[in-house]
């Protein structure tokens, strides 16, 4: 398995680092204060490959709390609102696009 840090980092626009939380698997975002949040709005936004690498390095080092950190694209509106940059991230943030069979 190749570590995410060994892969070439290429970003084309504003990006964030996201992962899943170890104890329950929930979607989390790396913040600018060396921790994690389940709010995309609190994610640290990076705009260069170097910034992305630094944020990812720090995230990967937290193996205890987060699984599989990776860089994902986001869209940042003029007012600063952050939206996921692709369908997969949209689904991770807002849930399945279908109605779930039951809600316990």
């Amino acid at each position: 398995m190749t570590s995410p840090l060994q892969q070439k980092i290429k970003i084309t626009g504003p990006s964030i680092v996201t992962a899943n939380r170890t104890w329950d698997g929930a979607v989390i975002y790396r913040t600018g204060s060396k921790s994690w949040s389940d709010e995309l709005a609190e994610a640290a936004i990076v705009r260069t490959a170097d910034e992305a690498r630094a944020l990812l390095t720090e995230a990967v080092a937290d193996d205890l709390n987060a699984i599989g950190p990776y860089i994902a694209p986001v869209e940042v509106a003029a007012d600063g609102a952050v939206k996921p940059g692709n369908m997969r991230e949209h689904i991770r943030l807002t849930g399945a696009t279908i109605a779930l069979p039951a809600q316990a």
Binding site: N20, V27, D63, I98, P101, A104
Partner: protein, 551 residues
Amino acid sequence: MYAYDDIDRTLVNERVAEFRDQVKRRLSGELSEDEFKMLRLQNGVYLQLHAYMYRIAIPYGTLASNQLRRLAHVARRYDRGYGHFTTRQNIQFNWIKLAELPDAMADLAEVGIQSMQTSGNNMRNVTADQWAGVAPGEVEDPRIWAELLRQFTTLHPEFSFLPRKFKIAITASEHDRAAIKIHDIGLRLLKNEQGETGFEVLVGGGLGRSPFIAKTIKPFVHGHDILSYVEAILRVYNQYGRRDNIYKARIKILVHELGIEKFAAEVEEEWQQIREGVLKLDEGIVEDIRSRFFYPAYETQPAMPDELKQAAHDPKFEAWRKNSVFPHKQQGYAIAVVSLKPVGKPPGDATADQMDALADIADKYSFGEIRVGHEQNLALPHVKKRDLPAVWKALEAIGLAIPNVNLVSDIIACPGLDYCSLANARSIPIAQEITRRFANHDTANLIGRLHINISGCINACGHHHVGHIGILGVEKNNEEFYQITIGGRADEGAELGTLIGPAVPYAEVADVVEDIVEAYLALRARPEELFVDTVKRLGVEPFRERVYATR
């Protein structure tokens, strides 16, 4: 049903204790994710987009009502009130927390359910014909052998770290309901001229990036040699299967690269060394396993009871009966398939309430037994024909009297991008839209048997290659596109489908499927000619012309 004894119970409990310790070590940081990942996978725990997913084995698709109730309990207590039945006789929960998993596992262990080796590079749940033991004309119940293989493959000290996952399926009927030709090992139970039980052994089938139909490696392996023969195959694979490239690591690639003759010769050489050894089964061992299967005490029942004659006046009942009720080996009994494919809902899902209700129905009408099939439907395997109207009413009350078994809306679909971290595109909404297009029962009936299989990525969990119509989600420039194949089939005449044309965007998939079905209705020689037979007769071209003429 196979009844666990102390040995089985002890093993499962020891497994739960081991996993509890492993989870504890992961949460305390003693185990890294890299180390833990393989351990959790060997217990059926994946990480998906939103949460962990927990996959539980239903060996050879046989479930007891108390087990189904316990699955309902797990759905409610640890998940979000529903479960998803897969194409390999497993059930998956999508929202489970790692910290709570050992408790869920312990709850299941109490009723003899476990999740060992439901993922990871080891021998997966051994699957079988879902109508095993009740299908008319079956050679003998293949579940005895599936159970012997289940035990043999569970926590095997040599084969728990194979190059890649390894799946075995077994059938004892002429019509293959277990899709043995798309498995790593497919076993077809038969009798030799002396009337002794054995197997035609097929090897190297599989879907995914490089699909292959399995080839026969040996036309007859005696039942008492089956474990040693499987061990010989696994030993050759464990030593020589590729480990340098995950996409070339399945046994199908080894068989393909060596050629079936050379591979068979390697296996034969190994087998000759071990066939008279400790794995040789004697009648006592086989009988011991057989004795712990439950067989109902059937009553003498009329072939055509009055209750059924009267109910035939109700067209809704008749529509369901004609579509969902299948012949049983015992006169007066029937197999009632329970479709989990309601219009507009995710294929293969059942709520906890439905599971509980179905368990009650099974207790009342089917000797407490439920079956799980690879088409992601359930079945009540021993229903008295005179009880069919009552069963239908009971199913109707929980939304599960859906008369679409084997019809165009009986779709196999993987979870796709709505849940799965490997997916490139969504599967479930595509399935939902297609079921809405074909919601009219009369139209669906007119079309006849037609299997649509949908996968959200090339890993092919939705078996798209072998769907009569196969739909594969791909990603193109950040958009969901779908490649469509026709003419595939998963049964004894297994074939891979052929691409019909360029991939189409998400919004057009249901239109294309409608066009394909319209083309079929125009092209079929007579109403009885199935879709897949028309494709076989005419090839893909006339379909391509009609479907893509206006695109």
